[in-house]
């Protein structure tokens, strides 16, 4: 019962957040030089064309009315048309998004697979040299701009040591991209680095908290081995808060993908966005912002729900 109530409340909250995002994007649309007409007709449009377009599209109406129109076109899946590529924005994003998801999901998985055991190891070896060394490394990884790390990776592992190509796979489909694993190594490493830094910190803190719980003392007193306590009990209980943080980390992953795709010339949504910014292709820019924000909201929602399923101790009302 309360679960259903919680779920309803969380979904309603997510819808409200998405509405606010559309308001923000709508405001950006109107903050553009020349307004949305310029955005749709392109930079060559004359003042008269813009005035006619505004009248025809109801853009001379009050802003709240226009916002409702805008919302209606969005609900029809219409994100406008790119005026440099001359294709519907929704179609462009549909082509590029899977490739960006490959990059971000791979980075997240690699990041977690390294960060989780690392954080647990740090917790077990708390205040030992290993703990300090990993902490220092994670401070550095967190403080390194992704593009600087990317350049260093290319210089070291592509120029000095010719192990990996400096360019990401160029395939059009996800299958083609995945068929070139060597090309993915450097982009995924660059994308995963800050995630390892942040999540090993979370995992270390969560494990330390669990290690001091009564159930661990009881299990120890009962003769359960350290290894079993750690992996059978502490691991699962420490992982749940970390999963919840994953939802909040989605925007950071997308931000990283933006830089990584540009740096390694990986034709995903980040690169689409990047070239749209260079050519002031506003429909593409705003469409991407909208899609990524919605993806983030949904990601956060899913993480919250998964956390509630995995850990029955998590209470509702934690908004």
């Amino acid at each position: 019962m309360t679960s259903l109530l919680y779920l309803t409340r969380r979904v309603l909250q997510a819808v409200a957040v998405i509405l606010v995002v559309t308001v923000v994007v709508f405001c950006l649309l109107h903050a553009l030089p020349g307004g949305p007409a310029r955005g749709i007709l392109g930079p060559q449009a004359t003042a008269q064309q813009i005035a006619e377009f505004n009248r025809a599209q109801g853009l001379d109406r009050p802003l709240p009315v226009q916002y409702l129109y805008y919302l209606r076109t969005l609900l029809h899946g219409d994100l406008g048309t790119s005026y440099t590529l001359n294709e519907p924005v929704s179609q462009l994003i549909a082509q590029r998004l899977p490739k960006t998801l490959v990059l971000t999901v791979l980075s997240a998985v690699v990041g977690l697979v390294i960060a989780v055991p690392l954080g647990m190891w740090q917790a077990v070896r708390r205040n030992k040299p290993v703990d300090y060394a990993v902490t220092a490394l994670s401070f550095v990884a967190y403080a390194t701009p992704v593009y600087f790390l990317g350049i260093i990776l290319v210089l070291v592992f592509s120029q000095i040591l010719p192990w990996f190509p400096p360019q990401a796979p160029q395939g059009d489909t996800v299958a083609q991209v995945l068929s070139d694993p060597a090309g993915l190594v450097l982009p995924v490493t660059a994308g995963a680095a800050s995630m390892i830094a942040v999540f090993s910190r979370y995992m270390r803190a969560a494990t330390l908290e669990n290690l001091s719980e009564d159930y661990v003392r009881t299990a120890r007193a009962g003769g359960t081995r350290q290894h079993a306590i750690l992996w059978r009990h502490v691991f699962r209980n420490s992982l749940t808060p970390v999963i919840a943080m994953l939802g909040y980390y989605v925007p950071v992953l997308f931000g990283g993908a933006l830089v990584v795709e540009q740096l390694f010339n990986y034709p995903g949504m980040g690169l689409l966005f990047w070239s749209a910014a260079q050519s002031s292709d506003y429909p593409v820019l705003l469409g991407c912002v909208l899609v990524i924000s919605v993806a983030t909201v949904v990601g956060t929602l899913l993480a919250d729900i998964v956390q509630r399923i995995v850990d029955p101790r998590v209470k509702a009302g934690r908004s």
Binding site: Q13, A16, V17, I18, V20, V21, V23, V24, L28, A31, L32, P33, F139, V140, Y142, A143, T144, P145, Y147, F148, I151, I152, V154, L155, Q159, V198, R201, Y202, A205, Y248, P251, V252, F254, G255, L258, V259, F273, W274, A276, A277, Q278, S280, Y282, L285, L286, C288, V289, I292, S293, V294, T296, V297, T300, S319
Partner: protein
């Protein structure tokens, strides 16, 4: 946080015309002294402080000891390797790279500091207002924060770079406006616990205004949370400043910052002149690490919740 009501200022003694101010001053002062003691015993945090001070000296006093021309181009001196005359070499238009590191560091540190503080101020006002108001006002204000967090900052910055090229002041405002969200959540959580404390309820009961409750009690008692949040905010802002030139939003030449030096040195680095990007890159990393170490130290010293 010891913010309890002192017994000698118990409620229900309306002797004076002005409402009594039950803020526990001496205890707070002792708390700060204890926190300062704990902070100075944290070697990592003290090291961070030393690094920040050294960089401030390097960037702001250094140019007086090491004179270089960072405004005019010297086309006879371009792309020189490190030597006794130019310790870190010169860039593509002949600026001495060591001098540029000082010159760019000024912008990075000032913009980062100002943007971090601005973000904390906006976040504090927003979070305190939402938490104190409660109800649907709180719900609406926090959904705005959620929406802001859902839009990745780098994407918004790139959209803004397509629309306009801001100056230093504009850059500070833009960075402040994209990074106030996390502190607002922290301050809201703090306000939620503080607004039902006895001394706030007492103030309200004897006719004190909401404004007074917030400015005299909620905010002063959140000061340690605010200071810790601000420190992390400055660290993040300096990191963000390193991104803006890369995104095309940076300060215009001949002015520069560490991020601008990094982007300018990109192609040079690929053709082997790594000394153009390593110093600014390491400078960003060191300063951001230092501010994060200070933040960690302050958080532990004040014993408040903050970023993990």
């Amino acid at each position: 946080m010891s913010a309890e009501l002192r017994p000698d200022q118990a409620p229900g003694t309306p002797a004076s015309a002005t409402p009594p101010d039950p803020r526990p001053e001496p205890e707070a002062a002792t708390g700060f002294r204890l926190a300062a003691g704990r902070f100075t015993r944290n070697r990592l945090a003290v090291a961070g402080l030393v690094v920040v001070v050294l960089f401030v000296l390097f960037c702001f006093v250094g140019p007086y000891l090491y004179h270089t021309d960072q405004v005019h181009t010297t086309l006879t001196q371009v792309n020189l390797s490190p030597s006794a005359k130019h310790l870190l070499g010169t860039d593509a238009v002949g600026h001495d790279e060591l001098g540029r590191l000082m010159y760019g560091g000024k912008v990075s540190l000032l913009v980062g500091l100002a943007a971090g503080v601005l973000a904390t101020v906006i976040g504090t006002v927003w979070g305190a207002a939402a938490g104190y108001a409660g109800g649907w006002v709180d719900a609406v204000m926090m959904r705005v924060v959620d929406a802001g967090i859902a839009i990745p900052a780098l994407f918004i910055l790139l959209v803004i770079s397509a629309i306009t090229t801001p100056g230093v002041f504009g850059l500070i405002v833009i960075l402040g406006l994209v990074s106030w969200l996390v502190p607002s959540r922290l301050i809201r959580a703090e306000t939620l616990t503080l607004k039902n404390r006895d001394y706030v309820l007492t103030l309200r009961a004897i006719g004190g205004s909401h404004t007074r409750a917030i400015t005299r009690h909620v905010l002063p008692n959140s000061i340690s949370t605010i200071v810790v949040a601000a420190t992390f905010q400055v660290a993040d802002a300096i990191l963000l400043v390193a991104y803006v030139s890369y995104l095309g939003l940076g300060v215009q030449p001949p002015a520069t910052d560490w991020g601008g030096m990094l982007s300018a040195g990109l192609t040079a680095a690929y053709s082997g002149r790594w000394w153009l990007i390593l110093p600014p890159g390491l400078a960003v990393i060191l300063v951001v690490c230092a501010f994060n170490a200070i933040g960690d130290g302050l958080r532990d010293a004040f014993d408040v919740r903050g970023r993990g």
